[in-house]
Symmetry: C2
Subunit: 225 residues, 2 copies
Amino acid sequence: MPPRIVEVRRNVLAKNDALAARLRARFAEAGVCVVGLVSSPGAGKTALLSETLRRLGARARVAALVGDLATDNDAVRLRTSGAPVRQITTGTVCHLDAAMVEQALEGWDLTSLDFLFIENVGNLVCPASYDLGEDLRVVLLSVAEGEDKPLKYPVIFHGADLALITKADLAEACGYDEALARRELDAVRPGLEVLRVSAKSGDGLPAWLARLGGAAAEKRAAAPV
Amino acid sequence: MPPRIVEVRRNVLAKNDALAARLRARFAEAGVCVVGLVSSPGAGKTALLSETLRRLGARARVAALVGDLATDNDAVRLRTSGAPVRQITTGTVCHLDAAMVEQALEGWDLTSLDFLFIENVGNLVCPASYDLGEDLRVVLLSVAEGEDKPLKYPVIFHGADLALITKADLAEACGYDEALARRELDAVRPGLEVLRVSAKSGDGLPAWLARLGGAAAEKRAAAPV
């Protein structure tokens, strides 16, 4: 990369980190558990989030922000769950940043929420560099993408707290080798927690919802009294 | 985007365009047909390229450059076709640029080739902005990614000459609606040529190879005598 763009990028990231820290403090004060979802395009973020909002929404107060270059299709799709959803349209920008999240939250009373989900632009590279103040960053990998993605896109796995293997219902049709995928995940990020889900069949969703419940409980335990 | 980064980005892109024009002239002089492949991670670029090198290599002189953030797994995999392959490892950079291609070609006699394939980093956003001097830019979309990707990632489709719907063998398992996908492609980029292939079953590969043959013939016809 040319030295000048490296320098500008460093400044942009430092500014983003400061904004993300401000967001994190605001989320902590409001007591809302914030979960970021990152993946390739088409790994099933929206399908998973749709099921998550529907199921978790029956027993908790949930909402979502969703990023895309163009269209508000995902927001429209997610709103059928009944949860409040706001779309962030990035134009040509390949990731969400903390400033976009802050702007999208304007006028939103975060104390009215237990969970806020932030679905990033579909991109396995660029979102890795931008902290959004989340409590939990989840990287999704569909079985249709192949087992080798962690080795080829390591940075986003380094920054994740949890990996979800998605579209598990297609595993057989894809000849997916889950043991190999888990070995490669472990090589890139030793000890990374991995869950396997299918938004279509519902397999693995109870474990995913329990994991979210655990994150929220941790957050409440850490909150100032 | 902050104004300063917009300005720096504009300069970087202008420099890339100039380098890409130089590459294009060099490719024309050598009489090599250059084909760029762009897609999401896991859409099947390497599987398609592997079959393409193997089949086309039986009757033409083929070679490939392949980009990834990390590992030379793809180059190793592609070399089993017998074609010369060079890996470009980008580190944290989310796309190939013309300078990386020029550097990777150092010492390579392009007049010894009929086809050079350039497999980009898996990313449906950032590679759109970087011309690599290709004759034909091909965007791949797997049936597992869903039908809505053209609407959500329009820029990369605007810059493509051909769309390949890949992993056609999984269409039924994924409940893929090809008519819908083609309507959405046509809405974003009216008249864009679309082919449907499966590197696994071989379906559609003869039409794809014929299309490549056509591109090479066009190039030869346009070449200075």
